[in-house]
């Protein structure tokens, strides 16, 4: 208990410091507004919001303001995705795909205002649950992670890439793994971290320092979005917003158990390396459907279904920051973009991170969720107007934004060529249903994997048992092997047969 109070007092100090700075509010309001706008516009994603703002705010302002801008946009964008889900039946972001299942039927039934109000409240509570978990668990894990050495780090990085590849694949799991391997391969370009041996540079001095994170992020997330979105779409017909947006306290109290359960699920899913808010939304929706007395009403305009997914996707944000801050492994694709921002600010997330940064992140998350809550309740009608802007108008501006953002981080035209090349590869990968998130996570974790894997072998004089002789390493090795084996058709079939036999 003393530990919790200690944490809360540390958080209080960071919170007061932020609240007493007037600039905090300027950055918060602008970033949360931009985030909700990005989330609300179908075709733009939370990852893209964080990526583009990384280009603008990443290393140009003090780290605190930069974190306010990026976390504000992250929280806002995940919430903003609910607008088109409820009013257009088109998820604004992948994270709010499950929201459309019940949100749209509610709007059709003339309860759009109520749905939006409850979504806003659930997203707010969800973010706070995730943030509380971040405050408590990040410290427990940080204490444990001090004992994590190179073998564990290498296996954990590999696990993050594999898990992300497994869960993010829309088609075959193998495609997710291939995407992760392509990311890892891209991270091998440049001087190697231990011996400074040039790898795959083809005599081009620009890539001696490896691929820069921001152009890769911009290329992977923005360019395919622009290429795919620049097509004629019939104007979307949003449902009229009926009823008041301000939620009824009684209703909120009634659904508090659902909100709490979904918050915990969202945080848990977020804490898994490389798994995003969309998975959190669907898992929570699925659990809600199976445990709820009114599970049969899910998909037909159930408030419980709506709250299950919306709470979880916002709670996932806090969860996704846990592996990022403790281990330097992003918990979701937007967290990967956030990691890019940390990197260009020379902050290395992981066991050696400055504890004050974590407390400030928590304080920023709380402030961002309050800002989102107030904006969501009182300016909802402005965001509904944004839904009518066609993609062919805002995507060209997004291309200009990514170009200038990418250029200004590195300050060179080569970054733009890299962005374009990565964008083309990512577009074709999207077309062939290869997930992009594992690629980006591979690029970000590739350096860490390479360095820690080889350091482990160096310490053990090439003895591979170093990856199994330490308890945590052995556990991680088993997890990696199990994850790979579980996808083998023979093993899958055996499990199905065993399941049938037991039944």
């Amino acid at each position: 208990m003393e530990f919790v109070f200690g944490q809360l007092s540390g958080f209080g100090a960071a919170f007061i410091a932020l609240v007493s700075d007037p600039l905090t509010y300027a950055y918060l309001v602008v970033s949360v507004f931009l985030g909700i706008t990005f989330g609300a516009l179908p075709g733009l994603t939370a990852t893209l919001a964080v990526t583009i703002l990384t280009g603008f705010f990443g290393n140009k302002i003090p780290l605190d303001y930069s974190l306010i801008a990026l976390l504000g946009a992250y929280v806002g964008a995940i919430y903003g995705g609910s607008y088109p889900s409820i009013l257009l039946n088109i998820p604004g972001t992948a994270a709010s795909a499950a929201t459309a299942m019940d949100g749209y039927p509610l709007a059709k039934a003339g309860r759009g205002g109520e749905a939006l109000g409850l979504t806003t409240t659930a997203s707010f509570i969800g973010t706070l649950i995730g943030t509380f978990a971040l405050l408590i668990f990040v410290w427990v894990l940080l204490l444990i992670s001090k004992n994590i050495a190179s073998p564990e780090k290498a296996l954990l990085a590999l696990f993050g890439i594999l898990l992300s590849g497994t869960l993010m694949s829309e088609d075959l799991v193998i495609k997710g793994w291939i995407a992760g391997l392509i990311g890892l391969a891209m991270a091998m370009v440049g001087l190697d971290p231990l011996l400074s041996e040039p790898r795959y540079t083809f005599g081009w001095s620009y890539i001696l320092s490896g691929f820069q994170v921001v152009p890769v992020l911009m290329g992977a997330f923005a360019i395919p979005q622009v290429i795919d979105g620049m097509r004629h779409m019939p104007p979307a017909q949003a449902m009229a917003l009926k009823g008041r947006v301000l939620p009824n306290l009684k209703t909120v109290r009634k659904y508090l158990p659902t909100i709490s359960r979904s918050g915990v699920i969202g945080t848990g899913v977020g804490a898994l390396p490389g798994v995003g808010e969309d998975v959190a939304g669907w898992v929570s929706y699925g659990v809600g459907k199976s445990v709820s007395k009114d599970g049969a009403k899910f998909g037909k305009g159930s408030l419980e279904g709506l709250l299950s997914s919306e709470t979880a996707n916002n709670a996932c944000i806090g969860g996704a920051l846990i592996p990022l801050l403790v281990l330097g492994i992003p918990g979701s694709p937007p967290a990967a973009a956030l990691m890019g921002a940390f990197k260009i600010n020379n902050v290395i997330p992981g066991p050696t991170i400055d504890p004050d940064i974590i407390l400030r992140v928590v304080a920023i998350m709380v402030l961002a969720s309050f800002t989102m809550f107030i904006m969501g309740l009182f300016t909802a009608r402005i965001f509904i107007k944004i839904l009518h802007i066609p993609q062919t108008v805002f995507l060209p501006v997004v291309l200009v934004l990514t170009t200038i953002g990418s250029f200004s981080v590195g300050g060179g035209i080569n970054d733009l060529y890299l962005m374009l090349a990565v964008g083309c590869v990512a577009y074709f990968m999207n077309m062939l249903k290869y997930p992009i998130a594992p690629l980006v996570i591979g690029v970000i974790l590739g350096g860490l994997f390479d360095e820690t894997f080889r350091r482990s072998l160096l310490i053990s004089n090439g003895d591979l048992s170093v990856f199994a002789s330490r308890p945590v390493a052995a556990m991680l090795l088993v997890l990696n092997v199990t994850l790979i084996l579980s996808q083998f058709p023979v093993i899958k079939r055996t499990f199905v047969r065993l399941k049938k036999g037991t039944a």
């Binding site: 140009k60 291939i178 890892l184 091998m188 041996e197 290429i227 108008v393 290869y434």
Partner: protein, 249 residues
């Protein structure tokens, strides 16, 4: 997956995808041979053992990629992807989609490789926004081609006339881009009667890049592409010489 037809197209594309991945894996495995694996000798200094070699991780990655792409190829062949790989169905050919993609690729290439380094950022981006919105808003192939031609004209001239970095500051390509942008804007104006979106294009095309470049250069004090561009040079001059002293004093 929407239907069996979509799955058949996807497996045929997977066949090609696996082929490309296998070729790339083999190429990079061959290139990995250049990195010393078993204690190579560089300028008289013996490098590390195999387990610490810079080649060990890439070797593992590209070998794994080769194995997985072979599995992918097997899956595609078993699903009939190889049989349909060269047919219209397998390639998933769609004329309008091909025009859309080709023109977009042209526009992006000429914008990034030709215009951004050489032409004033406001002019290049204004032309880009006008071309993209006009070209793709209605889904007409003729407009897409016109938009791509406008970008290609300016981009090709910039590349041909001012290719080396020492000539990136020249203003002849800026002038051409300004003329093409004006002409395209007039064309859009003539063809946008009754279309609110297209009528707003000139305003967005001027305001968005101007605001962005000014925010980046004067707000965040960051480098912006082509500082010596015909418009930005004037803006920068007046910012520091005319405007800044006003609040500086």
């Amino acid at each position: 997956m929407d239907s069996d037809n979509d799955r058949a197209i996807l497996r045929a594309r997977d066949f090609w995808g696996a082929l490309v991945l296998m070729s790339l894996s083999l190429f990079f495995l061959w290139r990995t041979g250049d990195i010393p694996l078993f204690g190579g000798n560089r300028a008289g200094v013996r490098s590390a053992d195999w387990y610490n070699s810079a080649a060990i991780v890439p070797l593992g990655i590209f070998s794994a990629l080769l194995v997985l792409s072979t599995v992918m190829m097997t899956v595609a062949i078993r699903a009939g992807g190889a049989k349909t790989a060269l047919t219209g169905l397998g390639i998933g050919w769609n004329r309008l989609e091909a025009i859309r993609f080709a023109t977009l690729a042209m526009i992006m290439f000429f914008y990034i490789a030709g215009l951004v380094p050489r032409v004033d950022f406001i002019l290049a981006s204004g032309l880009l926004i006008t071309a993209l919105t006009f070209g793709y808003h209605g889904g007409y192939a003729a407009r897409m081609i016109l938009a791509a031609v406008a970008m290609a004209l300016c981009g090709t001239y910039a590349l041909a006339a001012n290719l080396p970095q020492s000539e990136w500051g020249a203003w002849d390509d800026d002038s051409l881009t300004a003329c093409v942008w004006t002409a395209l804007t007039i064309w859009v104006g003539l063809n946008s009667r009754g279309d609110k979106v297209l009528r707003a294009v000139p305003i967005i095309a001027v305001v968005a890049p101007t605001m962005l470049v000014c925010a980046m250069a004067f707000g965040f004090r960051q480098n912006v592409p082509n500082r010596g561009g015909i418009l930005f040079k004037q803006i920068e001059y007046h910012y520091y010489v005319t405007l800044k002293p006003v609040w500086g004093n």
